[in-house]
Amino acid sequence: MCLFQSVMNYLPKEVLEHVFDFLTSHHDRNAVSLVCESWYGVERFSREKVFIGNCYAVNPERLIDRFPRLRSLTLKGKPHFADFNLVPDGWGGHVYPWIEAMAKSGINLEELRLKRMVVSDESLELLAKSFPNFKSLVLVSCEGFTTDGLAAIASNCRLLRELDLQENEVDDRKGQWLSCFPESCTSLVSLNFACLKGEVNVAALERLVARCPNLRSLRLNHTVPVEVLQKILVRAPQLSDLGTGTFTHDPDSETYVKLKNAMKNCRSIRSLSGFLDVNGRCLPAIYPICTSLTSLNLSYAPGIFSNELIKLICHCKKIERLWILDTIGDKGLGVVANTCKELQELRVFPSDLYGVGNTAVTEEGLVAISAGCPKLNSILYFCQQMTNAALITVAKNCPNFIRFRLCTLNPIVPDAATNQPLDEGFGAIVQSCKRLTRLSVSGLLTDQLFLYIGMYAEQLEMLSIAFAGDSDKGMLYVLNGCKKLKKLEIRDSPFGNMALLSDMGKYETMRSLWMSSCEVTLGACKTLAEKMPRLNVEIINENEAGEDKASCDDRHRVEKMYLYRTLAGPRTDAPDFVWTL
């Protein structure tokens, strides 16, 4: 044994702990804990932040047992396709058992971050009352709570720094939750209530802002008028992240002038969002802050017309992250390409889901962006049409994509110029972008694309497939080729039992697999469940409740299957329509 190795073996625990303190990523911490028993032990007692990507993969008790010093917990619940109404209500993902277990065990919880979970008012109340040092609550795409639960948080969390509500379904009880922050609360750093529907007490809001000198991030909801925004900006010129409420006002009015002046004084704003309900003629008020903006989200502002957007963009030379609607058009994207040389992440959302949709963007806009923005590494692009030639050009221009998500409004549209499948285009993307970790494909696609993905997408962790492929081979290429695959979600594609069962051990290396409207049968799912006890294979069956499970023919196709690795065994809170095989 060399000297170095023997020294490492005898390093005191405190030293190891100190060294581990420098490891911030979960990945590194996890790796370190696998080295040897002694390192595992030191690591688990010193770990304060834990990330659990699937709340059903492990029990709360096990978490607490392993990490008694837990201070910050991140949990994710429902599968991603729940966002698109593919998962029925009542599926699960409740946070209550976690909060209850941590409260009982005396965990000193300071931070809780939840995504796609069901959060009841009882959970929030228990949370608020059980953890005296609680500082930060971040809820993303959650549901199940009302403003009463928020009132409990506001009233009881003396040291609250962050209350960040992103895109949650909240039942607004029209109470005075915001007024529940006591006068003694001066510690707020971040407050985001943009997703709430109801009015808040604006006087209480202004007072709250005035007494929190560390407030850096504030996102208002649509009920907060411009007059109040102006007053808030005067009180909090130190803000670095602002989400406006409505932004409609008479541009000739005194309030508007005051707003312009207040904006000029906010020299720290780097991130801007909101504009829920906007009058485009009011936008010049924000031009002064545009020059230093690094993040801009106008994706909830369909009222801004293309030319107004373009004028605005011209001021945003330092933008790194831009979320907009396709009302910007290909021409507008050309302006972005010429102006926003620091752009790293772009998301273009559709503005017209059902209608005639003449405002959509095409492959032209995407090519322009790829040519003009050398730092681009993440894209979500909803478009009317696409071509292989365009994707090949994009792949050449931008080899640095980490995330590439393309969605054609018609899910099986072929190359708009040649009528061929889009295999070659997406193939070019995976071949060129060696660091790609997330990919969503759409359009007319055959097994050939999946061959390319299996061959080239070595770093791919998450793949979303819809209406694509010809046969089991497609799915097999992916399962065999993508060694780092963690999440695979497939809908409406002709992949069946052969692909599902060919490498069952693979699923223990992944977080989860979702397959809906594919060709897997009940029998195959049962086989998989039997052979792999450390997987939960769940079938979502939305037929009449009376249907007898035993009488279901194994040859019947399964409409929705969700399987995931787990140490917790079959879940005890599954509703009637979820069968764990």
Partner: protein, 174 residues
């Protein structure tokens, strides 16, 4: 730049022996998607969850919650637009329509509690079908209405429409 349609009619068959094929076929049939015509009329099959826009975003970003639809009245030289999100129910909407077209005598026609009402309010839904106003709950109507039309009663005769019953139903909502 010319936008070409897909020109594709694809039926992805599952071909299982005696299995439940029908249910899923519906979801996979996409009719010809010609950019020149009214796409809404052509693209009849609404696929669940496509395009993949998060439910929260769907509810909250389109048209800022506003739902402007065109309103035409038979005989009127131009159309108007009404924002469905501004009204909480059918009676409010009918009042708004009366305001819009008052100068064309619609107000009197609808108010009269007779079977001589000159106009019948109908709407085109997401499937492209023309429906009589008032059958479904307001919310359902507002989410599926693409345009409104005040149809001359004369054109609707023999179909068993009773506009006055309709309006009776509306006033109960208040």
């Amino acid at each position: 730049m010319e936008k070409r349609g897909a020109g594709l009619e694809t039926e992805l068959r599952l071909g299982l022996p005696g299995g439940e094929v029908e249910k899923n076929e519906k979801k996979r049939v996409f009719e010809e998607f010609d950019g020149c015509e009214d796409k809404a009329a052509v693209h009849k099959n609404q696929v669940v969850g496509w395009p993949p826009v998060a439910a929260f975003r769907r509810k909250n970003s389109f048209n800022g919650g506003k739902m402007y639809v065109k309103v035409s009245m038979d005989g009127a030289p131009f159309l108007r637009k009404v924002d469905l999100s501004m009204h909480k129910g059918y009676s409010e909407l009918v009042r708004a329509l009366e305001d819009l077209f008052g100068c064309f005598g619609i107000g009197e026609a609808l108010k009269e509690d007779e079977e001589n009402n000159e106009f019948v309010p109908i709407y085109e839904d997401k499937d492209g079908d023309w429906m009589l106003l008032g059958d479904v709950p307001w919310e359902m109507f507002a989410n599926s209405c693409k345009r409104l039309r005040m149809m001359k009663r004369a054109d609707a005769n023999g179909v068993g429409l009773h506009a006055k019953d309709l309006l009776k139903g509306f006033s109960k909502e208040d």
